[in-house]
């Protein structure tokens, strides 16, 4: 029922002119998408900021060599200075070092949870999209069921119940990380599954799939080689949104005091510790919250640009 209003000013860009010279430059769908993405200025800015943040947390601790747990009671709750560029917390620990370390955790939770949710979603969506009848109906019922579970309370419940045993199993840091990543991923796959299923429904009767089937391609090969690559666009967009949502969810859990323990300062955890000292050390909360906000905003802008670049028909 969409009218003639374009989803975005960039999608109706002039079609690529294939030069009439003897050797036309090859335009793959990816170069075309990249060309459209570059036009979306905010999206490019978001991508640049996000890459810079990843580089900063990856290499920052190699340059800024202060320990995250170096307690210094002579320098409690100090505002930013040359010795501590982002100030210190209530134990006199350097906030820049903690923020860099926390960024590693927050961003890797975001990316890892995205991978989990996309993998689960793609598998369930493909199975539902290839099979007709009862399997499809059952899987979609499951998807709807998960969509109507309130994710934060259920995540809190999961973490409360499994935290201790994961700690004993593989250690405090890795245990919490795996638990949080799997839990977030397990409650975010529904959108990817629906998108993949919708794409399968649209593609599986197309001529090129028919042709491959006529050539004797197996069901698995049809899925993996012919249909999935064509369904990738919306999935990439969903993946970007998932990264942002996972970063927010992890910080929410940590902010509620149920994510990472205090000796593993993810950004949400830093904010949780900072919120009782708002009146004396506002910088503490502002840096942590600002980092979460900036990363989520950058990823969201990227997602917006990718949606226009990869998915001009705007599937929600």
């Amino acid at each position: 029922m969409a009218g003639s209003t374009p989803a975005s000013p960039t999608v109706d860009a002039a079609p690529v002119v294939v030069r009439a010279t003897t050797r036309a430059r090859q335009v793959t769908p990816w170069t075309e998408a990249w060309r459209r993405f570059r036009r979306h200025r905010l999206a490019v800015a978001g991508a640049v900021v996000f890459v810079l943040m990843i580089l900063a947390v990856a290499f920052g601790p190699l340059i800024w060599r202060v320990q995250i747990n170096e307690i210094d009671f002579t320098a409690q709750l100090q505002p930013p200075s040359w010795a501590h560029p982002l100030g210190t917390d209530d134990l006199g620990q350097d906030l820049l070092a903690r923020m860099l370390y926390g960024g590693r955790i927050s961003l890797s939770v975001g990316l890892a949870a995205m991978v989990v949710s996309i993998v689960i979603g793609t598998i369930i969506g493909s199975i539902a999209g290839m099979s007709r009848g009862s399997i499809d109906a059952a899987l979609m019922w499951l998807t709807d069921l998960f969509l109507s579970l309130p994710s934060v309370p259920v995540l809190l419940l999961l973490i409360y119940l499994f935290r201790e045993s994961m700690k004993h199993l593989i250690g405090a840091e890795l245990g919490t990380f795996v638990l949080i990543v799997v839990a977030i991923g397990a409650f975010r796959w529904m959108i990817a599954a629906r998108l993949v299923r919708a794409q399968f429904f649209a593609l599986r009767e197309k001529e090129f799939v028919e042709a491959a089937r006529a050539l004797g391609a197996s069901q698995i090969r049809l899925m993996a080689r012919h249909i999935l690559p064509n369904a990738l666009g919306p999935v990439i967009v969903a993946a970007t949104i998932d990264v942002a949502a996972a970063i927010i969810t992890e910080s929410t859990l940590s902010f509620l005091g149920l994510g990472f323990p205090p000796d593993i300062p993810s950004w949400g955890r830093i904010l949780f510790d900072a919120k009782d000292n708002l009146d004396v050390a506002p910088h503490w909360a502002l840096f942590a919250g600002g980092a979460i906000f900036l990363s989520v905003l950058a990823v969201s802008f990227m997602g917006d640009g990718l949606r226009d670049a990869l998915d001009p028909r705007r599937v929600i």
């Binding site: 069921l145 309370p153 809190l156």
Partner: protein
């Protein structure tokens, strides 16, 4: 219509059962045992332990335990809070009105902001207003509620000292003065949640209006010579709002997440903060009860949205 209603109500039952199975499975899979402390307590002889376990049915297979649990839940026996020594259902019922009031007020605020802004943005797509508003909406969407809450506390409670940042359930005084204090302490929680919801809702409204605005019946309305105001309010917005109803209902799980955080920041005594304090004190019956109530609320909202949708959109056939 009544057949549609009955059908839709019947669909709700398997969802509720599914959710109860999911929650019970999580609980059953979890390591640890409610009698774990008894086992390590040397004062209790093993025979008594075994008798207690048999009495509470802990050694039964999981499906049987699920049935027992379900029957108890249906009878209104939600268990007993370990910490506050009150029945879980009374505890939740005490707290539920506050949560519903906060969420309801936030939804109303979100609608009041999102509707006019979203419609205005969509009426002139890609204008300066639209671009600014859309950018702000994306920012509002990316600002986690706990960060906006902290910024509001910093500005309005600490710097300006206008608003209290701890919500008090037992405000003294009465009459007009009491209402004013109640209003003042409710502003920040409602604004935090409302703006977060409003940002997402504005995007829904904008894209829904964009879908409708170029349809032929709108052109017809314009060519009849109707004033633009009437075309927008009577023809476009009415139809554009139909999908928005569903999207608002789909957003409910996120709303409850936001409500838990908001209640925790401002110490609003609702079921969200009850959940957090129950988790901190290992009060499993309360945790299960609150999670189940949240799930039921989500399903209830979906049900209401579906019914509303059927009523708003005559094209829906009541099969």
């Amino acid at each position: 219509m009544s057949r549609y209603l009955i059908r839709r109500l019947l669909i709700t039952i398997p969802s509720l059962l599914g959710i109860s199975v999911a929650l019970f499975t999580i609980l059953a899979l979890a390591p640890g045992d409610p009698f774990g402390e008894l086992a390590t307590n040397p004062a209790i002889p093993p025979e008594v332990q075994a008798a207690l376990r048999a009495k509470f049915g802990l050694d039964d297979p999981i499906p049987i335990r699920y049935l027992h649990w379900l029957v108890a839940m249906l009878h209104g026996d939600w268990g007993f809070s370990f910490v506050s020594r009150v029945n879980v259902d009374t505890l939740i019922l005490q707290r539920l009105p506050t949560t519903i009031a906060v969420i309801g007020a936030a939804q109303v605020l979100a609608l009041l902001v999102a509707l006019p802004v979203g419609v205005l943005a969509a009426v002139r797509p890609y204008s300066a207003f639209d671009q600014v508003v859309s950018t702000f909406a994306l920012m509002g969407f990316s600002l986690p509620t706990f960060f906006t809450g902290i910024i509001l506390i910093l500005v309005f409670s600490i710097q300006l000292d206008w608003l209290p940042f701890v919500f008090r359930a037992d405000l003294p005084g009465s009459g007009l003065h009491w209402w004013w204090a109640e209003f003042k302490q409710s502003i920040m929680p409602i604004v935090v949640l409302g703006l977060f919801l409003g940002a997402a809702m504005m995007r829904f409204v904008r894209s829904a209006v964009l879908d409708v605005i170029r349809l032929e019946y709108v052109t017809t309305a314009r060519s009849k010579g109707l004033p633009e105001r009437a075309v927008i309010l009577k023809h476009i917005v009415r139809n554009a709002l139909i999908p928005v109803v569903t999207l608002v209902a789909l957003q409910m799980p996120a709303v409850f997440g936001g409500a838990i955080v908001t209640e925790q920041i401002f110490r609003v005594p609702g079921i969200g903060s009850l959940l957090i304090s129950a988790i901190q004190s290992n009060d499993t019956p309360v945790i299960m009860g609150v999670t189940f109530v949240f799930s039921c609320l989500v399903i209830l909202c979906n049900l209401m949205a579906d019914l509303l949708y059927g009523w708003l959109d005559p094209r829906i056939t009541y099969r």
